[in-house]
Every structure is written in C-alpha cells, then in structure tokens.
Symmetry: C2
Subunit: 467 residues, 2 copies
Amino acid sequence: MKLFLIACSVLVSSSLLAQKADTLAKPYQDDAKRIFAAALGTGQAYAMLTDLTTNVGNRVSGSPQAARAVEWAKAEMERLGFDRVRTEPVMVPRWVRGPVEEASVIGDPKLGDVPLTICALGGSIGTPADGIAGEVVEVKSFDELKALGAKAKGKIIFFNRPMDRTKLTTFEAYGGAVGQRGQGAVEAAKAGGVAAIVRSMTMRIDDVPHTGAMNYNDTVPKVPAAALSALDANWLDSLLSARQSVTVRLKLSCQTLPDVESANVVGELRGTEKPDEVIVIGGHLDSWDKGSGAHDDGAGCVHSLEALRLLKELGLRPKRTIRVVLFMNEENGTRGGKAYAAKLREGEHPIAAIESDAGGFTPRGFGVSADSATTARNPSIFEHVARWAYLFEPIEADRIKPGGGGADIGELAKQGAATIGLRVDSHRYFDYHHSTSDTIDKVNERELELGAASVAILSYVLAQEGL
Amino acid sequence: MKLFLIACSVLVSSSLLAQKADTLAKPYQDDAKRIFAAALGTGQAYAMLTDLTTNVGNRVSGSPQAARAVEWAKAEMERLGFDRVRTEPVMVPRWVRGPVEEASVIGDPKLGDVPLTICALGGSIGTPADGIAGEVVEVKSFDELKALGAKAKGKIIFFNRPMDRTKLTTFEAYGGAVGQRGQGAVEAAKAGGVAAIVRSMTMRIDDVPHTGAMNYNDTVPKVPAAALSALDANWLDSLLSARQSVTVRLKLSCQTLPDVESANVVGELRGTEKPDEVIVIGGHLDSWDKGSGAHDDGAGCVHSLEALRLLKELGLRPKRTIRVVLFMNEENGTRGGKAYAAKLREGEHPIAAIESDAGGFTPRGFGVSADSATTARNPSIFEHVARWAYLFEPIEADRIKPGGGGADIGELAKQGAATIGLRVDSHRYFDYHHSTSDTIDKVNERELELGAASVAILSYVLAQEGL
C-alpha cells in the first residue's frame, strides 16, 4: 500500500467540523481527544514498561525481583508526583522454581531417550532428585480420566485438550482448557496417578512451555505438575498412538518456602471535591518467572501509572480521588487484592475499580460487573458506565459490555464498587502469556499507550460525574 | 491473568440463546458464524502466507521472484479448485536495487566518517560509482525548502518531517508525511539539490530503513533518493545542530531496466444465477524488495485466496461470481489494476471490488467508496453495504465507514463497482511496511484468518443479494 490512503486522511479531516458541533452535546469529548493525543505524542508508558521489564525483569511473588518491583513502582509514583504514595504490606506465598526442570521419554524401543520441553506449573511440589518415572496415559478431560479407573494408577497423567481455536476470543478458548492446569494435579492424584503433565495454554504450536497457577487440596496426595510445549504435546500424542506404552521421567526441583512480606503499591490524585469517593485503577505487579511479564501484567501496571500521569500532565484535576493500586500476588494467591479490600479505610467509598490485566494490546472497550451491593446503590450502574462509550469511539474502543472486571478488584464489588476490566484485542495474548515469550518486544508502543489513555478517560469521567 | 476470565466465558455462552432468536431477522448470521469458525479452526491462510514469504520471498515487479509468485498463485488457485484459473498478462516496470547502497557522513571534524543506514527509494536512479557528495540541508517541508532559495543549490536535501504520532490511525500519520518520499526528489531537483535523503516512513525509532515508491517528472533533472532509518534521521538532525556543516556521500547502484511482461492471477467461484455480475476480491502480488512482503501485501493475497477457499469448503455457492484477482505492480505503477480494468469482459458487470492492502491485522470493518457511475446505478450504495455490519459484530469488525477502497480497484469504480477496502487495526503496520521487518513472524495467525473470514462473508452476501 502506498499513496492511496492520503485521500482517506482528507476525508477524516473534513469530518472534524461535524465533530466540533457535537462537543457541547457530548461532554468530555475534548478532554478525551487531548488525552489520546498526549498519550500517542509524548506518552511514557512504553518507556516505563521497558524499564520495568529490563531493569527489574520478572517478579514472581516473594522473589527478590518482586521486592525490587515494589521499590520501582513506589519510585515511579514519586517521580510522577502522585499524592500519598505508599506501600501497603501483605504476606505472600513464595514458590521457587529451582534449577532443575526436565522431562524425557525414556527407553523408547526405536528412539531411546527423547527430551521434552516442559516447565513446572506454579505451586507444584518437586520430585525426588532422580525424578519420577511412569507410563503415560493421555486424556482430554477429567471424565475421560475417571473412566480409566484402575488403569490410571501409578501413571503420569497427560492432559492434552487444546484450547478451542474456533472461539472468537482467546479468553473463551482459555476458559475451556485451563481447568486442566488448575485442577490437573488434584484429578491425577484422585485417579491414583503419580504426576500431571498438561498441554501448555496457548494456540501457537511452538516449543515454548507456558507456566501458570495450579492447585492442591487436602483430600488427596500432592503430585508434581508440569506444562508441556504445544509442539511436544502434539509429538507425545503421536508417539502414544504409535506405541504400546510410553514412559516418561520427570524431574522438578521446585518448592514452596515460607510466606514473605511484600506489598501493594498505592498512589493517587486526591479528589478536589469528594476525595472520599474513590476510583481505583490498577494492574498486578507480580508476574510469573518466565519472560519478563511485559503483557502480564507489566502492561496493566503502566496503563495505570500512565493514566494518572496523563491527567496530571494535562491539568485535569479530578473531583473524586483516582487511586492507582499495583497489586501484589495476583498470579498465585490474590493476596494483594484481598488485603487492599480488607484494609479499613475510614469514611471512604470505592465507587469503581478498573483493572487492566489482558495485555497491552489495542483497546476495544470495557467490561463492567456489579455486585448486589453495587446495584443496591445504583440499579443502572452498567448504563451509567456505558453512557461514556462515545468518548472511545475515535479509537474504536467503545464496546462497553456487561461482565468482566479483574481478579484483584473482585472484593471491592462487595463494597459497592462497579468492577470494570479494560477489554483489549485478545488474539496474541496467549502466544506470550506465562512464558519466556512475554517480553517487551511483543508490545507495540501505540497499542499500549491507547490502553493507558482509555483508563485515564474512563477514570476521569467517573471522578467528575460519579457513579 | 489466570482463572478469573472463565466466569466471563459463561456469560458469553448464556447470550447464545438470545442470538439464536435473532437469526431469522438477521439473514446470513449462521453462515458468518460457520465462516469464522472454519477460518479459526482449520484455516489455511497462515500456511499459504508462510509458503509465499519463505519459498518465493519478496517479489518486486519484474523480478524473477515476482514471476515465481505468479506461478505460485496460479498453482494455489488450481490446488484449491477455483473456476477459470488464468493469468492475464501485463507489462510492468523493472527497477533493480543492485548491490551497492551506502551513505556516510564524511570528514566530520570530531567523528571522521560515520556510516548511515539507508536504502534506495524504489524508482531512484543510481549515483556515479564513487557516489555523490554534498553538504546536507535539513527541511521539514517543501515550503521550507523553497524558502532556502539559492542555499539549497548543490546540496543533499534531507527531508525529516516525522509521521505525526498523535494521529489516531497510522494511515493518517503516513498521509501527512509520505509526500516527502513521493515528491522529495522532484522538489530537491527544483531547488537545485543533487540528491534527496528522506526520513523513513515509520514511527518506530530503530535502525531499519523503509523503501517505497518515489516519482520523477520531465521538467527537472532526476536526482537519486534514499530513505534513512529513523534512528539515523534523529542522529543526523542532532549532528546538524552541532556543526556548521555536515557532508554526506551517497552511493546507489540501482537502475531501471526495460519493462518486462508479468501478469495478474485470476480465479473465481462462478455464480450459479447471475455469473456476469462480479464481485472482485484481491490484494497485490508484488511487494518491495526488502523483507518478504508478509503484511504488504502477502496478507491481502492470502485473505482473498482463503476467502474463496472457505466458501468452497463450506459449500456456499454464490449466485453471482466472486473473483479473486491478485494484482501485479501495485507498488510502483499500478499497472495490474489498470490492465484488469481496461480488459474488455463482454457482458460482465463488476458490482463491487474488495481490496485488502493494509496488512494481516485484526479486522475492524470496511471502508466503502463509490464513483458517480456507481451512485448512478444505486444512489444508496453505501447503505446497501453497511446494512451487513451486524454480520461482523461477533468479532467487533462491524465499522463500515464511507471512504476507502484500494489502489488496484479504483478504476473499477468508473465501471459502477462499489470499491471497498478491508479496514484492520493499523498500529503496527508502519513498524514493518516496506522494510526488512515485514516478515511472517510479524503476522498472527488468528488475526490473519479473521481478515480472510471478513472478506469471505462480505463477498458472499454481496454475491447473494446483489448491490
């Protein structure tokens, strides 16, 4: 494509006059335009994210890097001149991957030993030093596993149901597969299995394993659990079709250490008229320990920091308080979200909370949820958020839909806040999510900045108009 | 982000019932859903684009690779079982970059000689073998150049107006800067300059030069023209601020050889009821000779091929003819587009033409233009296209706007066709455009497939319902 599109830009300019006439009928439209232009023209979100991901790196809860991330965030808020910058302590789990994570098909009659590309799932116990070896049984569902009966005893259970590619958003596809990761170890143990190997939660067929949270419970033994790359999951599936039996040895050195103290990092623009009515905007500061947590959720952190910075830069003083909260420990405990909500804040009313935790991609709109506490306060809370959709039309991010929010802000719904998630284009997210691929080079500066601008605009109109 | 979004997928499922009730009132909704699912589930667009970009590579008009691309496209259409597959010959220019493209700041008092990262603009003449050396003058506009008067004589003119980052789409920003590339050499020559160096048309600050078309005219001498990487454009600007004078030597071995015969590649699904009413869908098969033309415009080619393949796979036989045209020579002459339109096709009526030439990114909708010939035939042609917007709502690609089309299909408007451009998310396009960065790894499979599905759906409803 070359010169052709110049003609289109002329068409766009000629529509500016019509837009001017709309301004009176559509309040905040000029503010929104200034915010978009400032974000794209002189934004700092990308520079902040580059700094966080390269100079702090990944930051799993309880790690030294997570502690550095807390310091980094506090220093950034101070540099940007936010009000009342502070850390709010919270105890977090400390899971450590350790140096060893290996798996191999062993003693194959034709191939001998063949290494598999795996990584431990977050929270998994380790194996004995010489590993756990077992025959592999592959299943696509927990029902299929139950139907195996005694055949699963002593086996390594291979959960290989892929994310459904036909879903129109990747989050739907993730929702349909991630139970294998979260509950695979429990179900494997219930069936008498000795370990769980789970196909990575991605639709990309490559050799990168994707970690993520898994759970244990007290009713069954704990067995180790690892993610297998999609490429090796396909290969292992083929091998199982071609052989009477396949044996795998799994070695993991991961372990859970005692909880350590960490913190949420908080700063705000104090409201000029109703400072005790608060709009929280945030993301989570912790990440997994693969890659550098650029999209998950460095993007959400800098969306929030940049949103407040933009308002300050443009001299937009909110009537109600807009507070950035960078939550600790979303990935494996949500301790930060719970601690923020549990803390007594005398006289304060959280009216809305906006979380960005779907990556730094082109924004498409917002998803809005409300608890009974919220709808008791305002029965048409969704409509009151959705009426601002036109402000996001210039960047085609005006899809404000029911449903959505964020793991860290869910508790605030019980206190009457509308909980709102930034909706972004989802197609690339699980290519990178929880893996070594989640790095700054996967983030486009303009897409990231427009997310920040969107959070700035919505939080500002809610601060001015209430909810 | 972890388990939280499962809740959202449940919400999505519960809305399916409501959608079912809509189906009768909203024709083609089930067809559209089947097309989206087939594209995402078992699509071939990404595999085709991988094949084109790796086994053919880049394919500048008149090159051996362009000839191979014609063979590739014809073979793909035959493999896919399209009707009436053929090539339609067209003479195209042949510009050859040659082995030498170099520039250096020379004889700087502190730095000595410093190489610059440049590439020749497409169509430029070469320099003498030992290059052209001249003092550099920097300008941001043609007016500024004219104001220099005699000071520009004998100089190398450095056009350094960046794309305006504050524009909400990158195409607007491109439209405001690309005149420097297209007309820089002519304006430099008018001012008495000896060469033109143009800041690359990108907003990314990196060391990759971006080529693209430039023009000469017969009223002024031809001077050579090259693109400078954005990083070096910033550096040269700094150096010019710090020095009384800066001299650059430019060496280019590019040249224009005699025209050669090439071809458009054409195949179709023949209409079952009104085969002489034709919907053209297409992209351009040529690319620049940097990178491998993955987004520009390999994506548009496979969008079109895949759109027809999807209709065939799903057994959707169109009443009117849907014809894929892969145009040759969009980048430097549009000879293919002109030749396609000029060819006499007895009894045929082109009712619409859809071009994809903005990359393989997430689709957002379509842009629709109409010539007087089109509106004479149907005064509400825009509304007749826009009424199908709801079919694209499931993927949030339902922004059907006035304006747009494509360089290759413009001539068809004079024959009464609505000319329609696929609109996609624009933010990343100029990071890659016309440079070594435009490679298959920059394309996301799902985003690419949804573009193909969108073209399939719109061309199918127009084939069934007319326009």
